[in-house]
């Protein structure tokens, strides 16, 4: 039993590798916050454009969302980080990771926002247009606030998935939390850094899971 604690919860190892893990945590924060924000904005834009129903734009948007939702995030990341340099597009690790995670996430968010916009009754749109509001004004002031409230549950679930998926950035040599933990582990020959990394992720993400539970309970109560 002491062997277990020594190998998985070793405080000395934690002390020795804490600065390494901290660097990783900061990088992960940067990665996640930037990716989520960019993905959401891009997804929202795509959903609004899709709703505008331009004949020539729709196929492009549909192709974009379908392809990016069918591609695993790590495959996309590998393509951007390892394949693009062959045609002279060399992105740094963090740039490649943010780019990959954002465009992948934007496809999911686009679908979520689209279903939210479509769920808002058509009458709202017609009423505000006949009151003289332009399409953009209608979107920003009438439709989107309602749509946002409707899709808050799948939005949080998707954000959780995005953040969980961001750990793949460690595979392209980005010094995020997981990668630093793996390095610390091979340096100290001890599994404690990995356990610490998992616990840190849990501390960050379990509140999000509780938020999802809250939304589920709320929609159940309303039903």
């Amino acid at each position: 039993m002491t062997g277990f604690a020594e190998n998985f919860f070793n405080t000395e190892v934690i002390a020795r590798s804490s600065h390494l893990l901290f660097i990783g945590l900061i990088t992960t924060f940067k990665l996640v916050i930037l990716s989520v924000i960019i993905a959401m904005i891009l997804g929202l834009l795509l959903a609004v454009l899709r709703n505008a129903n331009r004949r020539w734009l729709n196929p492009i948007i549909i192709a974009y969302t379908d392809i990016l939702r069918s591609c695993p995030i790590i495959v996309l990341l590998m393509l951007i980080y390892y394949a693009l340099p062959f045609i002279n597009i060399k992105l740094p690790a963090i740039g490649a990771a943010i780019f990959a995670i954002s465009i992948n996430g934007s496809a999911y968010y686009a679908e979520i926002f689209r279903s939210g916009i479509e769920a808002v009754s058509r009458g709202q749109h017609e009423a505000s247009r006949s009151l003289g509001l332009s399409y953009i004004q209608t979107m920003i002031n009438v439709i989107l606030p309602q749509a946002f409230r409707i899709v808050l549950p799948p939005l949080t679930t998707n954000t959780l998935e995005l953040i969980k998926g961001s750990a793949v950035a460690s595979t392209v040599a980005l010094s995020d939390l997981l990668r630093q933990a793996m390095q610390a582990q091979s340096m100290t020959m001890n599994a404690t850094p990995l356990v610490v990394a998992l616990i840190v992720y849990l501390i960050l993400l379990i509140p999000l899971v509780q938020l999802i539970h809250y939304f589920e309970d709320k929609s159940k109560a309303e039903a």
Binding site: G3, F4, N7, F8, D66, I67, R69, S70, C71, P72, I73, I74, V75, L76, M78, L79, Y82, A83, F86, I87, N88, I89, E111, S115, L160, E161, I163, K164, G165, S166, A167, V168, S170, T171, L178, A181, M182, Q185, N190, A191, L194, V195, A197, L198, Y201, L202, L205, I206, L208, V209, Q210, E216, S219, K220, E222, A223
Partner: protein, 229 residues
């Protein structure tokens, strides 16, 4: 940006042809892992969901709390972190898994957590009147669950279930990071051999072709079986 190079470096049919063997063997491994993950994950999730919702004297409150913790922890853990723990960390406790089984165990556990959530939500969404009616008609708890409640619950949760299952199957490609010889790993291997990323492009195309029908299927299911309140 080297536009002329795109043809030679990304769509080099010659090299793609030579690496097809490698890619297909990788695809086979991916499909095998997916099969086990779906099988084990789904059945475990179903059992856990039944344990949490059934009101029987043998199923105590502590068990339900434990399952709840299990589900929450697994839902909040990034796949790659768990996978690394299982593959690199467990050997420190003397437990050694092959890349194949480490992947299967980790992703089945994650899938079971999602499945438990969804099926439980589906079961709770079935009107309690159904349970009351069938119990008062003399059906046992088991019979009520399997013949009355569960069919309705599954019908409600099928769109979300397929969604989650497809998402986990996509996430399986992460296992290439622990050197599982799946499609992605073999593609990278081929890229290293030929110094040309065309195998990687081909692998991405295979993934997209593989998952695109499911993405469409999920959209269709969600539209058709949308649970209207």
């Amino acid at each position: 940006m080297d536009i002329a190079g795109i043809g030679h470096y990304f769509f080099n049919l010659d090299i793609i042809g030579k690496s097809m063997n490698l890619l297909l063997s990788g695809l086979l491994v991916t499909l095998q892992v997916a099969f086990f993950v779906i099988l084990i994950g789904f059945s475990t999730g179903l059992i856990l969901a039944l344990l949490t919702t059934v009101r029987m004297k043998y199923v105590g409150k502590t068990l339900k709390i434990l399952i709840r913790i299990y589900v929450d922890v697994l839902r909040a853990s990034p796949y790659l972190v768990l996978l690394s723990l299982v593959y690199f960390g467990l050997p420190f406790a003397g437990i050694n898994f092959s890349t194949f089984w480490a992947t299967v165990i980790t992703f089945s556990a994650c899938l079971s957590a999602f499945i438990e959530e969804n099926i439980r939500a589906g079961i709770e969404a079935v009107d309690s009147g159904q349970t009351e009616a069938s119990r008062s008609l003399g059906l046992s708890a088991f019979q009520t669950m399997f013949n009355v409640v569960l069919p309705q619950a599954l019908r409600i949760s099928i769109p979300t279930l397929t969604n989650r299952t497809v998402a986990i199957t996509k996430a399986l490609s992460m296992a290439s990071a622990i050197a599982l010889p799946d499609l992605l790993k073999q593609a990278r291997h081929a890229q290293g051999i030929f110094a040309n990323p065309s195998p990687l492009i081909a692998a991405a195309a295979i993934y997209i072709l593989l998952f695109f029908p499911f993405v469409r299927l999920i959209m269709f299911l969600e539209k058709r079986w949308r649970y209207d309140h």
